[in-house]
Symmetry: D2
Subunit: 384 residues, 4 copies
Amino acid sequence: MRKLKMGMIGGGKNAFIGAIHRIAANMDGLVELHCGAFSSNPEISRESGKELFLPEEKCYATYQEMIVKESGLTAGQRMDFVTIVTPNFAHFAPAMMALDHGFHVLIDKPMTLSLDEAKQLQQKVNETGLILCLTHTYSGYPMVKQARKMVADNELGKIRKVMVEYTQGWLSSLFENEGNKQAIWRTDPAKSGISGCMGDIGTHAAQLAEYISGTKIIQMCADINIVVEGRKLDDDGNVLLKFDNGANGILVATQIATGEENGLKIKIYGEKGGLEWHQMEPNSLIIKWPDVPTQIYRTGNSYLSNNAMANTRTPSGHPEGYLEAFANLYKNFALTLSSILEGKTPSAEMLDFPSVDDGVRGMAFIENVIASGKSEQKWFDFKI
Amino acid sequence: MRKLKMGMIGGGKNAFIGAIHRIAANMDGLVELHCGAFSSNPEISRESGKELFLPEEKCYATYQEMIVKESGLTAGQRMDFVTIVTPNFAHFAPAMMALDHGFHVLIDKPMTLSLDEAKQLQQKVNETGLILCLTHTYSGYPMVKQARKMVADNELGKIRKVMVEYTQGWLSSLFENEGNKQAIWRTDPAKSGISGCMGDIGTHAAQLAEYISGTKIIQMCADINIVVEGRKLDDDGNVLLKFDNGANGILVATQIATGEENGLKIKIYGEKGGLEWHQMEPNSLIIKWPDVPTQIYRTGNSYLSNNAMANTRTPSGHPEGYLEAFANLYKNFALTLSSILEGKTPSAEMLDFPSVDDGVRGMAFIENVIASGKSEQKWFDFKI
Amino acid sequence: MRKLKMGMIGGGKNAFIGAIHRIAANMDGLVELHCGAFSSNPEISRESGKELFLPEEKCYATYQEMIVKESGLTAGQRMDFVTIVTPNFAHFAPAMMALDHGFHVLIDKPMTLSLDEAKQLQQKVNETGLILCLTHTYSGYPMVKQARKMVADNELGKIRKVMVEYTQGWLSSLFENEGNKQAIWRTDPAKSGISGCMGDIGTHAAQLAEYISGTKIIQMCADINIVVEGRKLDDDGNVLLKFDNGANGILVATQIATGEENGLKIKIYGEKGGLEWHQMEPNSLIIKWPDVPTQIYRTGNSYLSNNAMANTRTPSGHPEGYLEAFANLYKNFALTLSSILEGKTPSAEMLDFPSVDDGVRGMAFIENVIASGKSEQKWFDFKI
Amino acid sequence: MRKLKMGMIGGGKNAFIGAIHRIAANMDGLVELHCGAFSSNPEISRESGKELFLPEEKCYATYQEMIVKESGLTAGQRMDFVTIVTPNFAHFAPAMMALDHGFHVLIDKPMTLSLDEAKQLQQKVNETGLILCLTHTYSGYPMVKQARKMVADNELGKIRKVMVEYTQGWLSSLFENEGNKQAIWRTDPAKSGISGCMGDIGTHAAQLAEYISGTKIIQMCADINIVVEGRKLDDDGNVLLKFDNGANGILVATQIATGEENGLKIKIYGEKGGLEWHQMEPNSLIIKWPDVPTQIYRTGNSYLSNNAMANTRTPSGHPEGYLEAFANLYKNFALTLSSILEGKTPSAEMLDFPSVDDGVRGMAFIENVIASGKSEQKWFDFKI
């Protein structure tokens, strides 16, 4: 095994998510930043790379140049994978090009601008046999993995109800008019696609609900809103859900919940017990029983599942957070790639990161939920 | 002012809510138990009264007997009001009879078995000028009153979103088949009416949402479920809401949330700030702002509104709970009656208890939400 | 069984703790206010009684008059017990007189002004065979009783460490100079005795620690402080503890913890597990284990001990608080008296309230902790 | 600026703290692992280095070899600093040697085996002008920095009381006899020095108390215990404190608090307000006031101090944890070194990491607290 070489697309100076990706990639020492096309502006790309201690020849003017030039290098000298941290509209083209040139891909969510693009990527991945990892960060938390395991092991019994909410307040005013870059592209249909809030955070909530519960949404009834006047994309929504195992559910995603930070919370109830997890206190998983005291499962304890432990770096009581969850995606992706490079079959634990199929499902969620919101029909079938 | 005399209908031995009512009535020393028809079984009524230290002649065999005999006594000797703590189906007749005989009424929620009955009661109350108090306990909490005041004072700005949930787990199995009296009548259409969960706890959630937000539900889209096989009434539901001020919302009421105790929680978001309150930690009201630290308002502190303080009995840090909230309804009702008895006009603070109009609204909520649940129409107008 | 008749000494208009006692006495309908000497000012006593709906002849000018006159009435007509809710300095004389006239006594803590008085009361109680209940409220909480039971049952193993703290902030400035009656007498040596903070709240902390742990303090090393300049009695202290089973501990009591409300918290660790309880969230008892998830025991659940359940009035999830804990003392005291009146032996559950022996121990705590604070000796033996 | 080259001493395969240091060093991409002497066993050192993707020539057999060889290289080619992650007894010699050869040093706490060694290191640092960073991790948390700033700005008024506790349960049994490497060296006087618990975690608590409060301990009265029979070093202690500004305090450090994970908590009270911080929920800082609602300051919000923000990597609501706090030490140390390398004066923010002076103070704390524990004198002066 060797350190994997990462080529980054996007994530130049002042970009939020690019910096997060680099921290996540750095954390475990399995990946090194090898090259980048950090900005559509070549000058900014060069400066950004320099700040990241890259040699000048590894700071490319465009992603096309990067992919072409790197693919001309020998294995071990060239980048092993690209990581795409641009706004949604600029995911598809570089991902396709990277796959076409034999590079694995790690990509921010939502995967593409449309379900159609997503399906094309899925087909390309299937054809090439390359790996695509989608950064649904929240499924990287150890206690989320513990929750999924306990559901899978039937500890809670048949799942009956899923309540997931993702509340943010940062768009409770027209923040996009105050020059905030994050707000600007996220509220711009040309850059974000057909959805704002549902695409940005609703997809996380839906993915988390399906990841933990092991069930799939099959019907929804959506109330999709533009609450702040003057905005072009949804900033709020409430959705009734039906799952394929018969469970019902509710999903709330909102960016106008004034005063909320990043309130992703989930509660799932089965015949035998219930669970609750809050992203903002991620090291506790609350398990509720009808006849015995509620239990608090905590990150880093020996009673946890192997997979939860494998995604933890510190002893119990040393809080891990968002960056560690993010790093778990990189770590598992890197272990998977390394395994493949060494001609081995990756283990199930290594493969525990969101894939291109999750990306397709996420884009389908966006298209279905927006369509349901516009429909006067009560129950809307989830179609892919 | 003198102690008010209470006649109780229902609440015999082993009844849950009757004991709660008596504690609430006792707490402030403003009300005394004067007589009762505690059971449809005269023997149990007598035994119950004896255990409550009533003289035998004040333990009536039937509520009819009680109302007739007491109405024959002179003012000050007879009961001042009846409190009705029977199951839903046995609310209407005694309430009407009591009003017809000139007695004020305190009544458990939901007020009646149907909206039609509720409207008749409302008409009777309006005709007689008597007082009817409905025990939506949760609006008796001081921090709920504080929340309502802060919304009314526009501290949060225009309200945009209301999220209310009421999760219980006690009906996650067929508890009604195990001899539990509470479960038996609550799941029996003949005793409970057309709804189980929505009538029992959904009404509380809706009342709380409207009480705090100062807005009214005008449309809903309900998913109403019987989750536990073999049950005859809904034990679970999720409802999308529209309010008359343009706000949207979500209401979840469920009794199959395995492991949950009595999880009534509400979050309300306005243009300027948000609030959060949990019934199980009722002495904290969380106020969230976009640009300054979150605040924790706590029961008993001098910075609270007069009305919150008037509904508090202890200094801050001495937790008050459900019984104190319940007692606040009795206290305000008693102060109102005393005021009327003395020929005075009750103050707004005294009158701060749910009235017959809330009872009508609650029954309308039940009928609308069940109808919406059965409808294939997405948005269903709230009709009274 | 009949309602017990209570005579109140102190607790006139605007008195804090008198109102609390009346609520606690009222709550379960086992006790009625029969008479009172509510103030050293006869006029205020009369007015106070009137507000409490007492007939004029039951509003006595002095406690002496009350005790003498009531003792002249026949059993069943006269008061059954006195409740003494005056400041510390006015506990001893009325308690002795009441006992001398054959009345049981309920008394606020600390029991007396000095250990010597306390011992005299103890002797009198022992001689007369009458019952004395001391209102260490916090031992009335159901989860405190659950904690005590789990320790007694050795669920936590041998107790090794006790950490108890009681933090208040209300005396962080010279509040006594602003006309606050509570502050004035509590900081006045003539009314409070040799200690302020340790007598007022340190005794609660010590009693709670011993009540739950089932062990007794045998040595202490105290740092007793007057933090706010100009005050005459301690307002703060930290104490190292040794217990008779070999455990060590720490006790903090402070009234200058600016911003704290009534922060009584206790943690106890044994060989096998630990427990944690916070008075301000009293319905949760946290039990910690080395190898399995932390458990949250909650008031009102069927898995609790009989005694915890017997001291609970509502189903789980309906929070009980300080007044219910206080009422549990009254209830158990009343059940004990009723049992005795009926010639029966009270059960252990009925007798679960602090007694005159706790009062002696509390006064000994005060005298020892103040002496230790003044001593230059490190470890100071707890002497009674 | 360029990436700084780190040479690691200790931290071979299966070592706990070495892995933590590498993550912390990696996180921000400012430091790269350049070489190491990872174990006193050359074979293990080599294997460990290989696993970390180091070339064989950079895996040294001994730290002496590493220091000598690296010092022979030219600047920019050789390591810039050493990081020492061995048990306590093996801190001093490599640190001295590194300083003697011109290398900056980052070192795990406690700094040395004795106060005398610490003073020698301090002298050497002062002579050489090199930088020594000591990893008191907890002062790296952004909300700890915010707390320190608010105290320094007098927002809480004059500090009067400090309550700090550090509770762990992992040594509640003789874990060292079960082969656990962490337990073995920590409970061995030859490897740990004269103290177990106080050295391991008491020092953290003391440093945190002084860091936030801006005051210094000047007297203590310690109760130091070996609770688990058969252990050679203290595993528990309670300490009364006096600070140089007149404040009093209490420090508890224990490793026998069965069921506790890593419970470092601090409360500080001033004349105007109080603060509370819990390491296990590190993104909230609770600020308490006498007359207005309690405030929750949260990591990542714009209302925080510049320094708190500079030590944060994610937006509010994205929890940061122990590794980020640890990485803040590395980051600030690296920025300081880079600044020096570039001939600039490091800013106060860069220099905000524990220094050799903190190391001396920590060793003095250990020697004083153990001596106080053995002394029969009540108050023991803190001597350096």
